[in-house]
């Protein structure tokens, strides 16, 4: 059974799917995201990388419209398929969320409701958003479970979340997120709670499903090597600012920003002999440094860095915000 193709897929293919322009976000008047700009062309995958507190998950939640009423203030533009999300009303969000935007949360065990069966979880968006009948929804749920690689799918429909392993729960979440064939999938650390062998299975599954449906995916990741494997584009964030962004092979292969370089020097590969982590830790929300927020930990910082925030400059293939790129 084919579901209704989103009308947008036919239109303007050159228009980026996601476009952030000088996008800022405050929580209780504290700056969480500071002037972010990046674009995601249709059909590509993008990874948001950086340490915790960098605002990676916040971007994901903002793009899902899940930060509407919590003392949150937004400025700038965040467009999804040409539509500005910053000024969107609740009704319009309901037309996007679940239907054209899907989300995979980090902790699948917590994201699934323990009171409902897997079948209910999968069928609910299909009935509610696509208006399928109960029987149609169940049939489609079965097909979804099979498509995310769950054996004995028929029996699993009747199972409750706690009866599944962590990897299986994550597969179910992927099934739910993809139920309405969204154009954009946001995967917030989809594998960090899983074992390594399962991690590879899940990332491959997301990649395959996204490609098959002609969708795009924004991954929130902390593993740079995994990001380089899973995504065409990378955005490196630090304390709510974009440090470096662009194509994965440029940003991670030939990084010029001292923060990206520092992150890379912390990655352990099997032949790593020495690690050179940057000193200190990321700043907290109420003590954000002025200018470039990485300056206090940066080996190349000068006076200008703390006085003036460097603009994000460059081409779409490689953008960098630094006064002293290496």
């Amino acid at each position: 059974m084919s579901l209704q193709m989103s009308s947008s897929a036919v239109q303007a293919t050159s228009r980026p799917l996601v476009e952030l322009e000088d996008f800022s976000l405050w929580r209780q008047n504290r700056s969480v995201l500071d002037g972010l700009s990046f674009t995601l062309p249709k059909g590509q995958n993008l990874a948001l990388v950086g340490e915790s507190g960098a605002g990676k998950s916040t971007i994901g939640l903002a793009l899902m419209g899940l930060l509407q009423s919590q003392g949150v203030k937004m400025a700038g533009r965040a467009r999804f398929d040409g539509q500005d999300l910053v000024s969107l009303n609740a009704r319009a969000w309901n037309g996007l969320r679940g239907r054209r935007l899907g989300m995979i949360f980090q902790d699948a065990g917590a994201a699934l409701d323990p009171c409902f069966t897997i079948g209910h979880h999968l069928a609910f968006p299909l009935r509610r958003l696509l208006g399928l009948s109960s029987r149609q929804a169940t049939e489609r749920a079965l097909a979804l479970l099979e498509s995310v690689g769950i054996n004995d799918a028929k029996a699993r429909l009747k199972a409750y979340p706690h009866e599944l392993s962590g990897g299986m729960q994550q597969r179910v979440m992927i099934g739910i997120a993809l139920a309405c064939e969204p154009d954009l999938l946001i995967a917030d650390e989809p594998t960090s709670a899983l074992d390594v062998t399962i991690q590879a299975q899940i990332v491959r599954l997301i990649q395959d499903r996204v490609r098959m449906q002609g969708a795009s995916c924004i991954f929130v990741l902390h593993d740079l090597a995994l990001a380089s494997q899973a995504c065409e584009r990378i955005v490196v964030l630090y304390a709510g600012q974009v440090m470096e962004a662009g194509l994965a092979e440029v940003v991670l292969g030939r990084s010029r920003h001292p923060y990206t370089q520092a992150l890379k020097s912390c990655v352990i590969e099997l032949d790593t002999a020495a690690l050179e982590p940057p000193p200190g830790a990321a700043p907290s929300l109420d003590r954000m440094p002025s200018g470039c927020r990485f300056a206090p930990r940066c080996p190349r910082a000068s006076e200008r860095c703390t006085a003036e925030k460097p603009p994000l400059q460059g081409t779409e293939a490689h953008q960098i915000a630094c006064w002293h790129p290496g």
Partner: protein
């Protein structure tokens, strides 16, 4: 000749389960084999990594090693004596000489005590210092783990994840141990914090000649930190030997699968291992990995291979090891 500190001789730990019957009645007796035929020796100055997925028995092995639980069969020795039989002075010495860093560092620290008292507790307990010398010693330890003296008055809730781990390490060092046993001491942290802690552990180990037993699921961490590695699967050590040799030429297909699952910059995501680690209850005969093994032959499902020495300090439990052909 190096002295052996720990010896596990064919240790088996199984639990009898009687749950699962209808209406709260006990079900049929089932056996959960958490550890089965485990042999491991740790000499003074060694650094050993225990690697494996969740459910492989890593933490149970630690509990047996520490004498926190007695094995159902086999013996766990410390300095030639049965760990569970240590009495009086010998027991006190064991408790001082072997220190543990727990997986949940925050949970392992009393939230009502400031850092000073947390670290002073083992010093006072073992009567290593008295009076004002205790405080000096705590300051020295804080300095060793790279925390400022001001941390002294902080409570665990006021510290970040990385700082809490440092306090836990300082507390472990406080009893002036010969051995540090760490259970996933660097997992769940940002890469930069993880790198800082790994550098700290390597430095401490080198400077103080510590013996290190380190549980991790990350082969990269294992290779960075430890000279020896023991790969576990479902309660068995399936491969053990010098880290470098094993990671360069793994003999067991499971070790190979773990290596493949390790994210690598710009490499395509490798074909992941199929399936998940099965339940350790009522295991089928034969090799425990056979169900997921790409090299399995019918013979694998009949005989359970024992860990056999394969030269150069290595041992593998497989009837079709990968190194045999070469």
């Amino acid at each position: 000749m190096t002295a052996l500190l720990f010896e596990l001789l064919d240790v088996e730990k199984s639990y009898e389960l009687r749950g699962g019957g209808a209406a709260f009645r006990p079900g049929p007796k089932r056996r959960l084999r958490a550890l089965d035929g485990v042999r491991l020796t740790v000499a003074r100055g060694d650094s050993v990594a225990l690697v494996g997925e969740s459910g492989s028995g890593k933490s149970t092995l630690l509990r047996v090693l520490m004498g926190l639980t007695s094995p159902t069969d086999g013996r766990a020795l410390y300095g030639g004596q049965d760990v569970t039989q240590l009495k009086g002075e010998r027991r006190a010495a064991f408790q001082r000489e072997v220190a543990m860093v727990y997986q949940d560092a925050r949970g392992s620290l009393n939230p009502r005590l400031p850092v000073l008292d947390l670290i002073a507790e083992p010093i006072r307990h073992h009567k290593l210092r008295a009076g004002p010398a205790v405080r000096d010693r705590v300051l020295e330890l804080l300095d060793q783990v790279g925390l400022p003296a001001a941390t002294l008055k902080r409570y665990p809730s006021q510290l970040s994840g990385g700082q809490v781990r440092r306090v836990a390490i300082a507390r472990a060092l406080a009893s002036e141990p010969l051995t540090i046993v760490a259970d996933e001491a660097v997992s769940g942290l940002d890469v930069s914090t993880q790198a800082q802690l790994l550098n700290l552990l390597v430095e401490l180990q080198r400077r103080m000649g510590l013996t290190l037993i380190f549980i991790t699921h990350d082969l990269g961490v294992a290779s960075f930190l430890c000279d020896q590695i023991a790969v576990m699967y479902l309660g068995r050590i399936v491969e053990t030997g010098p880290t470098r040799a094993i990671l360069e030429r793994p003999a067991h297909p499971y070790t190979q699968a773990l290596l493949n699952a390790q994210p690598r910059f710009f490499a395509p995501i490798a074909q992941p291992l199929q399936g998940e680690i099965p339940s350790p209850i009522d295991l089928p005969p034969g090799c425990r990995f056979a169900g997921r093994c790409p090299r399995a032959v019918p013979a694998c499902r009949e005989d359970d291979p024992a860990l056999m020495p394969s030269g150069q300090g290595r041992a593998v439990a497989c009837i079709r090891p990968l190194t045999a052909a070469a």
